[in-house]
Every structure is written in structure tokens, then in C-alpha cells.
Symmetry: C2
Subunit: 500 residues, 2 copies
């Protein structure tokens, strides 16, 4: 391979500068959600905007374009890591430079305003007050999509921002395969007689005991607690604030310890991915996560495949029983059943694993129609409610439990939702592949030894960073393209087990 020009080192150095700024912006955001004094939110918004502005100028500076061209002209071999980095850098540079700064700022202002209107609108279930803001954000999203470029389907250009490499019609085809089977599985689950519910475990589970339990669980799963933290916030999240600074949050419900348990297992999946990205590549795409869908596959794998399994509950039951006196009279199987209960519900973030993707399919269908203009904003609530009834068999009582429940659209985040379901399907497909690749897979899990599984994920997913597009990464890790089959067969088996 011909030597890469010096410009390549300049791209790496610029990438490192951007990673540092990204981590600093990340800390501003993390602190805002966890600790910031209430009166300081306005000032914090200014700080965040300043760091974002500095980063944007550095990322889109003309010299970056020159460095890229110089490196591309040197034509590194197509399968080299350098070629992958150049492709990702080029992708990001082109996207960032295609949008004029005033449009970025207009979008920031519009979504800032929309977000605060949405907060109030959701409280009062008042769609009418939010509608003009949604209209505005949709028109801005269409303008940006046109600038990014697409072949007739603007949603493609938006999706590309969250899940590079995927086209709208591919997602739609995948989801069409998924939908009827998911409906069948969930309807079967609803009819399980004396269906288990988390309410069966109602009791008092002091927050302090939950925290103690989680602090035991985290290192056992493989999370490096000297390179991260667990804190509290209203909406749980995970922030990678540097190679040795992965911060997760959770919330606690003293009547239901599974809220923090599954919240933390989910965020730990994200956190293990962040901790597994190669530190030496900080600032290059090889040190970044592959996509939102791949990130979500990690969280869902640890939350649902590991954490909701027979082996998890068998293995951890003595610890649970010792930690929570109010579990007296129960056994591991009660807990396993409660953790896997399938129930019709209105709110996506509270949905069980089986019905969860139905909530996503609904959002994907509606947002593609909103972007194409085939669905008018004023018709959104009726369309939502009709599709909800069809998919989940419930009549939506008001818009706060319907089309106003999520923050994403109020931030202009059109194209984000499908990554959740892509993550779910990917998580199950990876799980199946790990099962195939690793000898004594179940035996290790029953012994609470998660090292082989984590090592496998490190090698197959984490170590590659963003070298491969999500689809290629899945193909390399599992030997086949992403397919709903693994996930559906796992869910079918689970419902069968629950019925037994």
C-alpha cells in the first residue's frame, strides 16, 4: 500500500480534538440531567451551544476537506482500516458541510422551542398546541434531507444520520416480515391463563438495597467501575464521556426493584460497548460506535437475552433473596415469570419485550408518512389511534398516552425510532451466534461467568468500532444478514415457556 500522506495524521489529530470536545459537551449534558441546579439550565444551554459550535467549525473547516482529498487520492486498499476511516470521515464531512450554519441554528431554535411546548402539551394532552411546532420541524427536516440528498425518498437521508447504510424500503420490508408474527406472538401471550405480572411481587424494596445489589452485579457482568459511574436521573441513559469514563444512570422505584434492575442491565449493555471501543483509536471512526442500532443491540442483549433468562434468575436468586426480605415466599421462577410478563400497554418505554417492537413499527409507519407528506400533522392523532388499536388492541384514551408520549419528534429526531427495533433484532441474532460459537455457553451463564460472552462481543462487535457499516458487521459476526428470524423464534419459545 502506498504510504498515506501526512494529511492522514492531521485527520487523526483533528478527530482527537473533536473527541475531546465531544466528551466535554457530553459532560455538560450528563451534568444537566443529573446534578445541575434548576436555575442554571439557560446558562448551560449556552455552554452546550458554544462547545457544539466550536466542534462544528473544526469538523467542517475547509482544511479537513483538503486533507480528505489528499488521502483519498493516495487510494489506500479498499479493505484497509485507513480506507474505512476515510470513508466514514468523508461521510460525516459531507453531511456536516451540506447544511448551512443558519439552517442548523434555525433547527436548533425550533427544536428548543418545540421541546418546551411539547412538555406542556403532553401534560395537558393538548396536541393542537404542539401541532404547528411539529409542522415546522417536519419542514426543516425535509429541507435538510433535500440538502443531504436522496433519490426521491427524503426519509432515507434522515435515517442515514442514525443508521448509515440502511434505506427506508429495506427497513419497511424487514418490518413487514416482523409485524404479523409479532402480533400473533403477543396475542398468544395475552391469553396465557393467570398470566404472571410484576404486581405479584409487590413489596417494599429499599433504594439502598437496590443500589447495593447493582454495585455487586455491575463488575460481575464486566463493567469496569473504576472507569465509569452509576447515578440517578429521571430518564435513564448512558454517556460515554471518554475512554475511561462511562456514566450510566437509572431510577429507583421502591415498590418494584425490576425498574432499576432492567434499567441498569440495559444501560450496562451500552456501557460495556463504550468501554470496549479501542482506546488507541480515540478520534478515528475505529474508536466510535458503529451505529445506534448496533448500540441498542448491546443494551437489549444484556437486558433481555441475559437478564430475562432462566439462567440469570436461577444464578442470582440467592442474592436477590438475601438482599430483599420482601421476596420471602417467592422463588426464582416467580421472578423470571414476572420479568417476562407480556401485557398490552400504551407507553413504549414501559412496554415488555414482545410488544415493544409493535410500538416502534407504528412510529416508523407514521413518521415516514409525515415526512413524505402523505400524512398531515392534523391527522396524526387519529392515524396513531387507529394503528394502535390494530397492532395492540387498545383504544388510546388521550394523546398524552398516544402520539404525544415521546420526546423524539419534539427534537426533530425523525428516523431515530427504527434503530430500536434494528437493535432488538440484532441483539437476538448475536445471542444466537454466540450460543453457536461458544462451548458450554449456558453453563457459564448459570455460573454467572459472563466473560466468554463479553469476550465474544468485544471481538465480534466492540473491537471494530465503526470500521464496518452495521449490516456488514452483523454479517461478519453472525454469518448472515440481519433477519427477524432469530428474534421471533426466541420470543415464540419464551411465550411457550411462559404458557407451560
Amino acid at each position: 500500500m502506498p504510504a498515506l500522506p501526512e494529511a492522514y495524521q492531521k485527520l487523526r489529530a483533528r478527530g482527537r480534538e473533536l473527541a475531546l470536545l465531544g466528551a466535554t459537551g457530553g459532560l455538560l449534558g450528563w451534568d444537566q440531567e443529573t446534578l445541575l441546579p434548576p436555575k442554571s439550565h439557560g446558562f448551560r444551554a449556552e455552554q452546550s451551544a458554544q462547545i457544539a459550535g466550536i466542534a462544528h467549525r473544526l469538523a467542517t473547516a475547509p482544511e479537513v476537506g483538503s486533507w480528505l482529498s489528499a488521502c483519498e487520492a493516495a487510494q489506500p486498499p479498499a479493505d484497509s482500516p485507513e480506507a474505512a476511516c476515510l470513508a466514514r470521515w468523508r461521510h460525516d464531512y459531507n453531511r456536516a458541510t451540506k447544511i448551512p450554519t443558519d439552517l442548523v441554528e434555525e433547527n436548533e431554535r425550533a427544536s428548543g422551542l418545540a421541546r418546551s411546548v411539547w412538555v406542556e402539551a403532553r401534560k395537558r394532552s393538548d396536541f393542537a398546541s404542539f401541532a404547528p411546532h411539529l409542522e415546522k420541524l417536519l419542514s426543516l427536516a425535509r429541507r435538510m434531507a433535500d440538502l443531504w440528498g436522496h433519490s426521491g425518498q427524503p426519509y432515507d437521508a434522515l435515517l442515514e444520520g442514525y443508521e448509515p447504510g440502511w434505506k427506508t424500503k429495506e427497513v419497511a420490508a424487514l418490518f413487514e416480515k416482523l409485524q404479523p408474527r409479532l402480533v400473533t406472538i403477543s396475542e398468544k401471550a395475552f391469553t396465557i391463563p393467570a398470566h404472571p405480572s410484576r404486581k405479584n411481587l409487590s413489596g417494599h424494596y429499599p433504594r439502598h438495597d437496590q443500589e447495593k445489589f447493582l454495585q455487586t452485579l455491575l463488575p460481575k457482568i464486566g463493567f469496569d467501575t473504576a472507569a465509569g459511574r452509576l447515578d440517578t436521573s429521571t430518564h435513564p441513559f448512558c454517556s460515554g464521556l471518554g475512554p475511561y469514563d462511562t456514566r450510566m444512570t437509572t431510577r429507583y422505584d421502591e415498590t418494584d426493584f425490576m425498574v432499576s434492575l432492567y434499567g441498569v442491565l440495559h444501560e450496562t449493555g451500552h456501557g460495556l460497548y463504550d468501554q470496549g471501543l479501542p482506546e488507541a483509536e480515540l478520534g478515528t471512526p475505529l474508536g466510535q460506535a458503529a451505529s445506534l442500532g448496533i448500540h441498542e443491540s448491546q443494551s437489549r442483549l444484556w437486558e433481555n437475552r441475559v437478564g430475562r433468562s432462566h439462567s440469570f434468575w436461577k444464578a442470582w436468586w440467592p442474592d436477590f433473596a438475601r438482599t430483599f426480605p420482601d421476596l420471602t415466599g417467592h422463588n426464582w421462577e416467580h421472578c423470571w415469570r414476572a420479568a417476562n410478563a407480556v401485557e398490552r400497554s400504551f407507553i413504549r418505554v414501559e412496554a415488555d419485550e414482545v410488544t415493544y417492537d409493535l410500538h416502534i413499527l407504528l412510529r416508523f409507519q407514521l413518521e415516514t408518512l409525515l415526512i413524505s407528506g402523505d400524512l398531515k400533522v392534523r391527522d396524526l392523532p387519529a392515524a396513531w389511534n387507529e394503528l394502535f388499536q390494530k397492532l395492540l388492541g387498545l383504544k388510546v384514551p388521550d394523546d398524552s398516552k398516544g402520539c404525544l408520549q415521546d420526546i423524539h419528534w419534539s427534537l426533530g429526531g425523525f428516523g431515530y425510532f427504527p434503530t430500536y427495533t434494528l437493535g432488538n433484532l440484532t441483539g437476538s441474532q448475536l445471542w444466537q451466534a454466540a450460543h453457536r460459537d461458544l462451548p458450554d455457553f449456558e453453563a457459564f451463564l448459570v455460573c454467572r461467568d459472563y466473560r466468554p460472552l463479553l469476550a465474544w462481543l468485544r471481538q465480534k462487535i466492540h473491537a471494530h468500532g465503526r470500521r464496518y457499516l452495521a449490516g456488514d458487521l452483523i454479517q461478519r459476526a453472525t454469518g448472515k444478514p440481519l433477519d427477524p428470524e432469530a428474534h421471533l423464534s426466541i420470543l415464540e419459545q419464551k411465550v411457550k415457556d411462559l404458557s407451560g
Copy 2:
């Protein structure tokens, strides 16, 4: 007054950018001391250096010099706020631009290295390993002092960085007046028969109870808890991270509740000052603290004048008694005596109010000699121990309890120490003036109504930001120049009360 040119608005805007960056850098530092995962310190140092570098480039950019010259040419009236802002901006700009970037970086590297060597040296009381680093930092400090400029006394140029307007010989003259009286007062205090000590109150004071008490105390004193926080760190500090984000830290000792009590009263003094700076002037010198000495005067006033008074202990005694069962059998006077105990001790940060300034006088004398070259680094431990014996009557057992105890020199912070004593003297002089200005001063304090005192400080000190040099500010607030008399007479009276 002739209209100021448009450049004045540009200076304001640049100042605001710098204030935002300063707050972001401040958050990086605050988080480092309170929450940062242990493995992430190296990365955090890179983040902090990046933000400092961006700020330094913005502050020293040639256009700032042009804006300043354009505004100065317009000659705003000498007593206008604008003239004061221009003078401060010019001062800062000239200082920052006189040091070449490579010297700034060399100093950063040298102090970074020295700090880590110092940590180990202090642990092992090994002055020899630290000596070459101290040598290096002193030579860098002299080089910088020469670049900043001085008339024969390089320490002047260093002092100017912490306490603008003060000259070494003025500080020396003040301290010479102070020293014999302080020695006399402390020696008298040491001979009080059956001298009260905090050990008399030994008991178990659960951290949770201390926290609860402090959360009651803070708003009562006037700290806006919706615009700040109280957290935990090894070394207590206060960071102003924005107009509505003042963060204080403390540490807890379950055998001695006065550790957190006086730590928090001290930091609250700093915090009230930060919260009292005019928000509309954020980014101009009018929104900044006047000097380190003035800042310290606020912390010392609340810690020592308010918190160690008869009225404080009388007024808060019922709350203390209710909060801490282990105070049973004691009364407010026991607590007041224990809080004011005067004892010989080696460590500055643990010293009582009477002996504290002797620790500072010693450091000031030695560091001026080190900078002038009249004291060699190798002779520092002997010089320290000799002077310590003279001032405090104790033989220093080893250098970790002697010249290795403080972090300041390991960071190259020569010229910082005198600001502590200037703060102590100023705090007492302000206290006396407030007493004179405010009707029923004591009656309000006994009723725990601190609003008149805080309002007085807001009006006399906080509201002016950095408009006046510290000396002028004190003159305006108290009607006379800074003088040790107020402080000494207060201490003399206190020792008399303790003897009674």
C-alpha cells in the same frame, strides 16, 4: 461622555464567550475533584488543557488588542464603569500576551510533573525528591515575572496575578505590624487554664445528620440552593460555574461535626459572593470577583465572625441539640469555646483562627526569599523549621508536617499565600464596618436573620464586581484603608472572653 465605539460591544461579547468557556473548564475541574472515575484523570487533563487553550487563544487574539485601543482612544470618563472595565481588560490582556505560548506550556508541564512528585514526596516526607522540581518552578516563575515586568522585585509581578494593586513591600509592612501582636495574642491564648478543645465534644455525629443540619443552615444564611449545590470532596472548595451554579464541597468527620460545619460556613462565604456578582455583567470585569483576598474575606467573615460568635451558638443551639444526641450534657457555651479553641499545630489548613495567619506570614517570608534567590531551595526545610519554632513554638518533626504540606508551590503558585491573610484582615474590617452601619446588628444575628448583613455585603462588595482594586473597595466599604487593627482587636477580645 463620548459614545464608546462598537469595539466595546465586541469586548463584551468576547468576555461572555470566555465566561462560558471558563464555566465549562470549571465544570471539568469540579467533576474531577468530586466524581471522575479514577482511570479517567489523564483524559480529563487533556480536556481541561484543550478548553484552556481555546480560551487563551480567544483572550489574546490580536483583535482584542485593537478593540481595546479603539475604546481607550475614546477616553471614557475615568470614574465610569466602562473605564474600569477597559483598565481590567487591558491588565489581563497585557499579562496574557506577555508570556509566549511555549513558556505557558512549559510551566504547565513542569507543574503537572511537580505536583505528582510532590504528592509522593509529602507521603514519604522526602524533600530531596521534590527539590529539583521546586527549583525548576521557581526559575520559570522568575522568567514569567521578568516578562510581566517589575521594578527590581519579581515577586511583585507574581503577587499582581492574585492580588492586583498590592506591592510586596506593602504586604511586608502590613505583616510586620501584624506579626508581634499575633504572637502575643496566641501565646496568651495557649496559657488559658483548662483550655477548651474540640476533643471535649467527642462523640458520634452521623454524616446524615450533619448533612440535614447543613441543608437547613444554607438557605437561612442566604445561599440560594436552587442556584447551587453542596457535594463531597477530599479538599473542600467552592466553584462558581455560572451565574446560577455555585458549587461547594465539604468533607465529613463523624467524630467532629465542626469539620463540616466550619468547612461549609467558609465555602458558603465564597458562594454568597459568587451568587451576589451582577449576572447582567457576566463576561465583563463588573461580573467578576475583585481579588482572591476579597473572596477570602467573604469566606472568613461567615466562617469566623458569624460562625464562631456567641450569637451563632446561642441562636443555633436548639437545632444542634436536637440534631445531635451526642451533644447531650453540653450547652452552647461549650460549643462556642470548642469552636474557638486556640492550639499550636503544624498544619495550616487545620489551624485555628488566631494562629492561622502565623502560618501564612511564614510562607510569605520564605517565598519572597525563594523568588529573590536569597534563600536556596536546599536551605528551605531548615529555614522553615527555624521560623516555625520562632512563630509557633513547635519543633517541626518532618517535612511532611513542614515545608511539604501545601500544594501551592508544587503548582508554581508563588504569591498566592498572602491573599489568605489579606482576606482575614479584610473580613474583620468589613465586619466592624457592618456593625457600625447596621442598626440592631447583634439583635438580627441572635434571631438568625442574616439578611441585613448579606444585603450590606451585596451593596458594599458583591455588586461592584472587579470595578475597584481591592484596596479601593475596602476603603469605600469601610471608610479606611486596610489595616490589621480591626482583626487584632477582635482576636484580643476573643482571647479575653475565652480566658473569662
